[in-house]
Amino acid sequence: MVQHRRRNRHRQDQETVEGSKEKRPKFFINDHVDILVEILKCLDGRSLGVAACVCRLWCTIARNDFLWEHLCFRHVSPPSSVRSVVVALGGYKRLYTACVRPVRGRLGRVRRASWTCHEIQLSLSLFCVDCYERLGVVGGSNSSDEKFVGKSSPSSLMFLCKPVNV
């Protein structure tokens, strides 16, 4: 929604530029990356993903983890140590797509205001469990490796991926 408006404005700007070249200065959003970032910060997750498909510059910017961090913690200010942990575990974009978005989606109908920080905590815990599952087994290259866990695809978050059975 927001993005459409912005895009339209961009086009309008261009048209007005075309219309009266001498009077208005040219304005291309791609020249002003900081403004672009500010705009992208306002988007929701899906729109941010769509924005990444616009052009290469937008793709680079939209993939910046900083934007996704802003998306995850928009309403809550997390403790400062979160960033290092999340980055180590795979980054905010992964956190968002794997945990925060499904959690928020599922809880959308029963959400209460006080739950937001709990949501984050829960998402982080689930994220951590998922990362743990993805870790390979280090040490011990004997034949009993297959028996250990034996899971090629970690699936502790599968319950989030299944369609909600309303």
Binding site: P102, W115, G150
Partner: protein
Amino acid sequence: MLSRKRIMKRDHEEIYGATGYGSGSGAKAESSSIGNPDKGKLWEEEQDAGGMDELLAVLGYKVRSSEMADVAQKLEQLEMVLGTAQEDGISHLSCDSIHYNPSDLSGWVQSMLTELNNPATSNLDPVLANSDSNSSILGQINHSEPSKAQYQQQIVVSNQSQVYSDDSEYDLRAIPGVAAYPPPKSKSDLESTRKRMKTSIGSSGSTGYGSSSSSPQEIEVSGAVTESTRPVVLIDSQETGVRLVHALMACAEAVQQDNLKLADVLVKHMGLLAASQSGAMRKVATYFAEALARRIYRIYPQDSLDPSYTDILQMHFYETCPYLKFAHFTANQAILEAFATANRVHVIDFGLKQGMQWPALMQALALRPGGPPAFRLTGIGPPQPDNTDALQQVGWKLAQLAEIIGVEFEFRGFVANSLADLEPEMLEIQPPEVEAVAVNSVFELHRLLARPGGIEKVLSSIKAMKPKILTVVEQEANHNGQVFLDRFTEALHYYSSLFDSLEGSGAAPPSQDLVMSELYLGRQICNVVACEGMDRVERHETLIQWRNRMETAGFSPVHLGSNAYKQASMLLALFAGGDGYRVEETDGCLMLGWHTRPLITTSAWQLSNTELTRELS
């Protein structure tokens, strides 16, 4: 009887194809001789408006499609009554009887039944007195009253009590069959009185779980031949569900009374009945029937199976349903709160398995304001059959994760056959000033009840470790009673709820996860029902029982805070089909249940003041 229904459903070929218990084949011979008496044969051609069933018409039987379900039931009644009346002889049928043309199946069966019910009254008194009053209204298809259903259930119960003095091999009166009470055509009434027993009415082959509201409509017989078969199965599955439960209970009673012959017959019968069900009821019944069979035939399951196999099953259980996740998250929250100010922490896990509980705790510790403490984990596990060090592998993985998130981590693994073999000195526990100790047990403590003195030894070992907190997660059921029948009944209720919840959460095609989870639970069922003595390790007890035990041993409860409650509620809301799960708080302990039935409980304990003062003195 059941195979006959199946044949009606599938082939429409032979009405009397069933040779169930010997009496069935007798019915065939007799009916053919009776069906053509020389005197008093009234031929009544019924011209009906609606279609005759085509396939049956080919064979020479005229049955209205609209009456197919009714005819099937009456045929079943007929067989039951013929079977039970066999002892008295049914020679009275060959004289003074007016029988209709057997090709008019509906009318013929009805006349047979009215004839047979009268003489057979002396045999099954209270039961058939009821059916007598019903025989006149057999023609009414849609007659159903909930009060009647319950009255018949009472009849059923009183009939059961007369049964097991008889040692006859074919005495199946323990299972009040169709002759005992004509099938009540009540639909949702029956279902509402049996909430636990969700016989999910779906189409015969597929596993589509239709909602119960749609079943009343499906009972109405529709026109086409293939469609009409489905209602036959539907009505039967409701009623066979009732009979299945009764058969299970009767079999358990027989085992309790050591009447193994009767139990044997019942177990075989249960197998057939269970096959007619679908969904959770079928699975529960199958597992319980198998466990009973093992108990009767003394084929005990070997418990010395691969522990890694059990681990794999538990992993699937972990993923499919929230019970283990709930356990981990609530226990972690309690431990986190207990470790609030400690700089060095030590967690002792009585059942490490794959270590799925600890990543979340490590992450929460890493994000603690003030930085993470030094985290030491001691994992205890069973010996592996091929001497692989599964514990060490899990420890490696946890160490990797700890390095990633920046928590100082140390791991030690201990292999022990039973927790009672542990000595606290082996664990090298530092005094409380140096490190805060937490002991965690998820579904482990109940196993110690199999060995006399086991639990007391372990609790005193725990006290010697001087933990800041002890978190215990256990099943909320009493499967450790003295009387086998009580244990059986409790287990039946408990695992029915558990399987119901699995059905509710699964996707439409049963995934491998679901199947493995059910297998995991099935092994528990087998252990509860079939094993005895030291082998029976699944000795679940309720919270009240554990509380008594803990308080006697010198522990006092720690209340799990509201954070744990909120997290748990949110976790459950995430699960598809999560509407059925309920979190309850009882005296500071959190219980996770399915609808109204609590299934697992998390509780936290600390050394009571008396214990602490005793240490100091």
